[in-house]
Amino acid sequence: MKNNETAIEEIFRAAREAPPVVPPNNFADQVMSLTMSSSAEDGIAIDFPLLKIAWAASFVIAAFLASEVIMYASGFPSLGRGAEELTSAYFSELESVVTP
């Protein structure tokens, strides 16, 4: 087996000498045609962040619904039931204050 450090040095030395890909003659023209069309497509590019936000929002909703179902099935108080209890406690408290 080769000496590991020497072998790694040789691999990097040889890799440094690998010839790069040469751009085709009409590369600048290709880019220019793309940039000209991309100016018109700027509006479409804006849709990508919105799409990501929409995916994130639907993931949060799905996670919430799944946790509700799991909590309900295991007999724990779900977030919905907890909120219901809290609001009913709040209103009964409020009622006692308003009507002495």
Binding site: K2, A7, R13, A14, A15, A28
Partner: protein
Amino acid sequence: MESSSCICCISVSLKAQEDATCVRSILAGRSELFSELVKRYQDRVFAILSRYERDRGRVENMAQDVFVKVWRNLRKFDPRKAPFENWLSRMTTNVALNHLRAEKRFRNQLPVSQLGEGALEWLQQEDDSSSLQAMEAREILDHCMADLTPDEHLILTMSEIEGHTSPEISQITGKAAGTIRVALHRAKKKISDNLIRLQGSL
């Protein structure tokens, strides 16, 4: 020696000024001048991207992606912060990193069967002084780098193949110098372990 480095600084500064003027003209409406910028830097962009991808068609697509991104973000370029060349290098590196991230999803470990005869022969030789061809080196490197994270892959390539120093890598990638040093150390360790494993498996 001092005067030659001075001349070099002046020429770099003149080039940076020329680029900044060109960008201003493009933004002022002379969009056809963008073609000049592409021609001036296409070799450099292809050279950087070729370090991360061997397939010619993919390198070409990535280079197009770089210049389209440059075109879309040209208004964000500030010549007072960095010369155009550095800004472009940073954008090219980002495209390379995105490419590595996308590739990472498909490969974690390459099979030994993907190595060519020349690479296998070199690995099996006991002689430490035997030299390796560039393409065979790339094959072995691709194999040994398969389990590196995209960031480690990028930093190791920038350091060992492109020849950048840690502060330069930090400047281009926007990562802290300490993070670069840690990633570099970890990447070298993985490469070393993978090479031992590869040689042992032959």
